[in-house]
């Protein structure tokens, strides 16, 4: 691990000011905020992250879950994943989020990992994590050995010729289906970013994963008011029963009236280079009878543009079945 200066800012403004001097907030950042540390410390030990300054935001007052004025929910940046998953309002009104979080990591890690940290969780691609290997995300321009190498767990949606790394988060997939908004305090003031706009596709710049700029501090996330009568399911498929990243997952929030789907919000995990909201699947379902044939059609729509790599073609059908089954669970649950 490289040496760094450890700083504990007194308030959010001081944190923003201290981080604003960074050259980038993306890969290679010389200043990093630390909350749970579960991603950052892991990658610092591998020398994938080499910040010169680490700003500890754990003592800032960003750890509350509160009702939002519009009837939604405000979730602080440093709320631990376990507290979020077990919060009574989340369990009652946003259960897909609770399910997603409890399907991720381990109890210990969920006690450490935070809302903001999970939004910024880095890929598990083995080439990204190994500094002996080329990687366009870690060192732009060096190439992507995953495309011709080990890619069984990597992405089939949103890839580019420069990067096929999967976004590993479960929480973000549920937040995509819940249409969360991410609130950022930056050097120029506060701003709000829809979760669909927060993560970037790799394109030609896989080192840029989010819209964050130097000094930007995620302060909280808001969820819209709950959808009355909605059914919510997070279904995660993986190589073992627990404590493993998704090969494919689906977050569904659907409303069914008189046998018809009146509203559907659908996102996929484990298959995309970012948390994968599927407007195609939603459009295929809305207004149609809630039955298995239509769920399958929605799943086919969601994966229509999937691009398999040498080892992960199985993910296309796996993701289709995952989404179909999740919709079936939601409709009958």
């Amino acid at each position: 691990m490289h040496t760094f200066k450890f700083i504990r800012p007194q308030d959010s403004a001081a944190a923003v000011a201290a981080a604003a001097r960074a050259k980038t907030a993306q890969q290679g950042a010389d200043v990093r905020f630390v909350a749970g540390g579960t991603t950052l410390l892991d990658l610092m030990k591998l020398n994938v992250e080499t910040p010169e300054r680490v700003l500890d935001i754990n003592r800032l007052p960003l750890d509350k879950i509160e009702a939002a004025p519009d009837g939604g929910l405000k979730i602080g940046a440093t709320v631990r994943n376990s507290d979020l998953a077990h919060h009574p309002i989340v369990q009652r009104d946003y259960s897909v989020l609770s399910q997603a979080i409890l399907n991720g990591a381990s109890a210990q890690l969920r006690n450490m990992a935070t809302t903001a940290g999970n939004l910024l969780q880095r890929t598990r691609c083995a080439y990204f994590r190994d500094t002996a290997m080329p990687c366009n995300k870690r060192e732009p321009g060096t190439g992507c050995p995953a495309i011709t190498g080990s890619n069984r767990t990597l992405a089939i949606l949103g890839t580019s010729e420069h990067c096929i790394a999967t976004n590993p988060s479960d929480m973000c997939v549920a937040m995509a289906a819940l249409e969360a908004t991410i609130h950022v305090q930056g050097p120029k003031g506060p701003r709000a970013v829809l979760i669909g706009d927060f993560h970037l596709l790799p394109g030609n710049t896989p080192d840029r994963e989010t819209v964050l700029e130097p000094g930007d501090l995620i302060t909280h996330v808001t969820l819209p008011p709950p959808i009355a009568g909605s059914k919510q399911v997070y279904l995660k498929l993986r190589d073992r029963a627990s404590y493993e990243f998704a090969l494919a997952s689906a977050a569904v929030v659907i409303t069914v009236a008189s046998g018809n789907v009146t509203r559907a919000r659908i996102a996929l995990g484990g298959v995309g280079t970012k948390p994968w909201r599927s407007h195609e699947a939603e459009a295929a379902l809305a207004g149609h009878p809630a039955n298995h044939a239509n769920f399958r059609k929605a799943a086919e729509a969601a994966l229509r543009n999937a691009k398999p790599q040498s080892e992960n073609g199985f993910k296309i059908e796996l993701a289709r079945r995952c989404l179909t089954h999740a919709l079936q669970m939601a409709a009958t649950g």
């Binding site: 691990m1 040496t3 760094f4 200066k5 450890f6 630390v34 749970g36 540390g37 579960t38 410390l41 892991d42 030990k45 680490v54 500890d56 754990n58 376990s82 077990h86 990591a105 381990s106 109890a107 210990q108 890690l109 006690n111 450490m112 029963a241 627990s242 404590y243």
Partner: protein, 211 residues
């Protein structure tokens, strides 16, 4: 349970002292070079050792409250909570397995909640309440979970055991369904290469039933 027993001596050697004094020449040299000061010191002595240790560049002063005792330390900012507990404070019951949050051997409690101490910086825990396996019970008065692991044979080599027990004790206060499957899910962050899982689950269920 306790490696750093102050009563340790030639007639009552600790496992650590035994390894250091009786290992093969090469092994003994390696171990002695790696933990010269820690081989026989107690946690109480470690503060004095830290005070006289060579100064660390850019070291930061912190107070770590471990098992009810304050330790005034100066640590390199890179020091993980795990390394600080083991190497600086010399409480070696907490184990280093993968060092990347994947195995659970390093599990300790911070303010009553279980965490992977390998993925946390010591500096992040200034003033917080830390509990390690040494703070749960003593050889003469085991914590009920420690006693249950003994009674149910919840280990083979023992390397993961302190992490398993710290996780299991924390689990008692967490939302957890009554059946074995719920226990297995909440214990999935603790890996046991010997495969003692059935007995670990049995030990935890015994304590849940008895309390």
């Amino acid at each position: 349970m306790k490696d750093d027993d102050p009563q340790s001596g030639p007639s009552n050697p600790t496992r650590r002292a035994f390894l250091v004094t009786t290992g093969g020449t090469a092994a003994a040299t390696v171990i002695a070079a790696y933990v010269p000061a820690h081989a026989s010191i107690t946690a109480e002595q470690s503060d004095a050792a830290a005070a006289t240790a060579p100064s660390i560049e850019d070291a930061v002063p912190i107070t770590l409250r471990i098992n009810g005792k304050d330790h005034q330390l100066r640590v390199d900012p890179r020091t993980t909570l795990l390394d600080c507990i083991r190497e600086t404070v010399a409480l070696t019951g907490t184990k280093k397995g993968c060092d990347h949050g994947q195995c659970g051997a390093c599990t300790v409690h911070v303010n009553g909640r279980r965490v992977n101490s390998c993925l946390s910086l010591a500096l992040m825990h200034d003033g917080e309440e830390i509990t390690t396996i040494e703070g749960l019970g003593t050889p003469d008065a085991l914590h009920p979970m420690q006693a249950a692991f003994v009674a149910r044979d919840g280990y083979q080599c023992g390397y993961c055991t302190s992490g398993q027990i710290m996780s299991a004790v924390a689990l008692l206060k967490e939302p957890c369904g009554p059946d074995d499957a719920a226990v297995k899910e909440l214990m999935s962050g603790n890996i046991c290469r010997c495969g003692a899982y059935p007995n670990i689950v049995a030990a935890i269920q015994q304590v849940r039933k008895d309390t």
